[in-house]
Amino acid sequence: MRNAVTLSAGLLGCLGLGYACADPAILTMTSIFSLSVITGYFSVWGVTPSLHTPLMSITNAISGITAVGGLLILGGGYFPHSFPQALASMAVLLSSVNIAGGFVVTQRMLDMFKRKTDP
């Protein structure tokens, strides 16, 4: 009973969002977001407990994709020309530290689990 009520409330919420927002971009985004939440949930659920620490590390490395966000608003010439552009270049710098470092750390964690039969 409670599940049914929650479900209908969620579905009504979806409809309400569609009613309130005329902008189709928001709706596309919401669809992508919900699907990716489900994907994320199931792919993480399948990971064996012994690999949870590398999992934490690799998800962290992947979140370095925020670099793309920084790249999008990067501007100016060899150096940024305005304050927002400076913020953007800072974001790119920080995220790229995260990408490279994150994957190296994951690799090293996985090496600790390495068996002789592993590739």
């Binding site: 985004m29 990716s36 792919s43 690799i58 790249l71 953007a88 920080l94 530290v97 995260n98």
Partner: protein
């Protein structure tokens, strides 16, 4: 060409998902890591191609990516094996800060302030801020540093701060042309989410996934709009 870039982003996302799924068992874990690297680099390269930078700007971007990458590699290789978890926490703090900074920058440099954009900027700031201070606190805990700093009125702070955040978001979306209001709201979001993150340190680790997916989606999405 837009469709090619869009597919590039899709390929990048699929690689990232594959990377996480690869960690499901020991035998595929390594492939998972490789897939993750492929995913993120595909994403970055697609963005670089899609943006059509001028030569100086491209130099700047490549320099930043290279410098950050070198620092990351050096740090990742140098730390002792027992210190790996707190290194992850420290890196994660960087990404949180990057999300905050990106959201603020995108808000201030953008021309159109559509509802979507405002919501994305606000959420990016809040989530990034929580991640930033939360990760720093986690890093301190993991590395066994005894120094702690409790915010005053710790127990009573979380709910009012979150509530005010929601109010701020609504106020900003209702008045899209009021720059002063938006700036105040965003700055408030930054400050309060820093405080929140510090308070909610316990729930770290689970915080990664949503941040990654949200930020990736919102930015690749409004790359299209912009």
């Amino acid at each position: 060409m837009v469709s090619v870039y869009q597919m590039g982003y899709l390929a990048a996302s699929l690689c990232c998902i594959g990377g996480i799924t690869g960690l499901a068992s020991q035998s595929t874990a390594r492939i998972g890591n490789a897939l993750g690297i492929m995913g993120v680099s595909t994403g970055v390269i697609t963005a670089l191609c899609a943006l059509n930078f001028t030569a100086p700007l491209l130099t700047q971007a490549l320099f930043l990516l290279g410098a950050g990458g070198t620092v990351g590699l050096a740090l990742g290789k140098r730390v002792a094996v027992t210190q790996l978890p707190q290194t992850v926490a420290a890196f994660h703090a960087l990404v949180g800060l990057a999300a905050v900074v990106t959201s603020l920058g995108s808000h201030w440099s953008a021309v159109d302030h559509s509802t979507l954009h405002l919501i994305a900027a606000y959420l990016g700031t809040v989530i990034g801020g929580i991640t930033f201070t939360g990760s720093i606190a986690a890093f301190l805990k993991l590395s066994g540093i005894k120094w702690t700093f409790d915010l005053p009125m710790k127990r009573y702070l979380n709910k009012p701060l979150s509530l005010l955040n929601i109010i701020g978001l609504i106020a900003m979306v209702q008045n899209p042309h009021n720059a002063l209001l938006a700036t105040t709201a965003l700055l408030y979001a930054t400050g309060s989410s820093f405080a929140l993150g510090w308070n909610i340190t316990n729930s770290i680790g689970a915080a990664d996934m949503p941040v990654a997916i949200t930020v990736l989606n919102s930015y690749s999405g409004w790359a299209l709009c912009a």
